[in-house]
């Protein structure tokens, strides 16, 4: 079960009509590093065409520019990061972050780790995990470039997070996923339903393991850039029914999470999740979960 027609028919069944979309380049201003530096004016003077992303506080889309935003002095000094607009949403969904102990369970290449550190104003601590050695190098370079002071990185599989013997107030699960066609033009020829199911299984293992390390009243933000419900709503439905977690309402663009997927009727609270079909951003799925206290 693969191919463009197969997946496009699925999307139609979920209420979205396929159209070709390509993810727009975006930047996120690192507020901590860029205070008082007139960053936008400097970038515009250098020839960057920037448009504010309406649903993000620090995000700007990059239009046709005379300058490559990945090679400016300001970029190299960590004043901003290149981060797709939808990918800038997850870190902003936690209720409070300053002075918290935060787990970024699948951290590399570090865009969201740096975003968390920025939102925390480098106060508190972030424990960032990843296992891919190439991506770990990208992560440490990203942390150094952005002068992050509050993160510790372990080369550790997120499915072994409890071996750290730490209890986290906040957990970001930007889990490895199948991706979507907006960020990968070859996606339809590369992916099969088998890949999706394999990823969904790993994702459940990561959610289950992370929940073991979550403090009472602690929060998890779960996100993928997959449009496939196996990796999104079905996983969250499973988590809500099996892991003492509840979905929380979030204020972010997108449609309500699906509550009917094929023959599966999901928990009604799954509608609090957000499904962002490709358009202004790449395809994305995000939700916030909270640990229930005193109930099993």
């Amino acid at each position: 079960m693969s191919g463009k027609e197969f997946f496009v028919n699925r999307y139609r069944e979920f209420g979205w009509e396929f159209r070709p979309v390509y993810a727009r380049q975006a930047i996120r201003i690192n507020q901590t590093n860029s205070k008082g530096k007139n960053l936008l004016e400097r970038l515009r003077t250098a020839g960057a065409d920037l448009m504010k992303v309406p649903f993000l506080e620090s995000g700007y889309w990059v239009g046709k520019s005379k300058v490559s935003v990945g090679a400016t002095v300001e970029y190299l000094l960590g004043l901003y990061s290149i981060q797709e607009a939808a990918a800038q949403i997850p870190a902003t969904l936690f209720s409070t972050l300053k002075n918290k102990l935060v787990l970024d369970a699948c951290a590399a290449p570090g865009g969201k780790t740096v975003h968390l550190a920025d939102l925390m104003d480098n106060r508190g601590a972030i424990v960032a995990l990843d296992i891919n050695s190439r991506r770990l190098i990208a992560l440490k370079n990203h942390l150094e470039r952005c002068h992050v002071r509050s993160a510790v990185v372990y080369a550790l599989d997120a499915r072994k997070a409890s071996s750290l013997n730490l209890e986290f107030d906040r957990i970001l699960l930007d889990v490895p996923c199948s991706g979507n066609f907006a960020s990968d033009p070859q996606w339809f020829s590369r992916r099969t339903l088998k890949d999706v199911e394999r990823n969904a299984k790993v994702q459940r293992e990561i959610i289950a393991e992370s929940t073991k390390c979550l403090a009472d009243e602690g929060e998890i933000v779960y996100s993928t850039c997959s449009l496939e419900p196996e990796e999104d709503e079905l996983n969250i439905d499973w988590a809500v029914k099996n892991l003492n977690l509840q979905t929380e309402s979030i204020n972010t663009p997108g449609e309500n999470g699906l509550t009917q997927v094929f023959e599966h009727r999901l928990d009604s609270s799954i509608s609090l999740c957000r499904r962002i079909w490709p358009g202004e951003t790449q395809g994305f799925f995000v939700c916030k979960l909270k640990k229930r206290v005193g109930k099993q």
Binding site: K37, G70, A71, V73, L76, L77, N99, L101, N122, R123, G124, A125, V127, L136, I137, A138, L139, K140, N141, L143, E144, R145, H147, V148, R149, S150, A151, V152, V153, Y154, A155, L164, L166
Partner: protein, 153 residues
């Protein structure tokens, strides 16, 4: 943390770091805040503010450390926009691109290199006496922030 202090002194600067919050692993030095120190186990991959590494007896600073050093160094050159751009592309600095020079002007000495906004671009070595330059290149590029692009390519 002699290695860190010795490096700072090459720029006429002094940095005092609380050794209680510095971790060394495999020749790499990291500065940790107290909260982070509590959750950092011995098998970490990267932690806190990376300060630099010692390889074959030579200290290679991180850009975090250079940024800290920039605030205290007395040896400093300020480059104009074009020279700053060329410097982060790995090029040396020419006399006509230098807006300001502070501290040592002596051949062989190290100097921090900053842009017109005072942001640290890296460091270099004085290759010709400033007072009576005979060559066009006066600051040899030793390390610049363009390294972030080069190291992953």
């Amino acid at each position: 943390m002699k290695v860190l202090e010795d490096f700072a002194s090459k720029f006429g600067g002094k940095i005092v770091l609380n050794s209680e919050f510095i971790l060394e692993k495999g020749g790499r030095y990291y500065l940790l805040n107290p909260t982070l120190r509590k959750v950092t186990h011995a098998d970490f991959y990267y932690a806190g503010l990376y300060l630099g590494k010692v390889k074959k007896g030579i200290f290679f600073p991180s850009f975090n450390y250079l940024k800290m050093l920039c605030n205290v160094a007395t040896n400093k050159v300020v480059l104009d926009g074009k020279a700053a751009w060329l410097f982060i592309c790995g090029r040396d600095a020419f006399l006509n691109g230098i807006l300001k020079m502070q501290g040592s002007r002596k051949r062989g000495d190290f100097t921090m290199v900053v842009n017109e906004f005072g942001e640290c671009l890296g460091f270099g070595k004085v290759v010709d006496n400033f007072d009576m330059p005979r060559k066009e290149v006066v600051i040899e590029n030793v390390l610049d922030v363009g390294d972030f692009l080069r190291r992953e390519s």
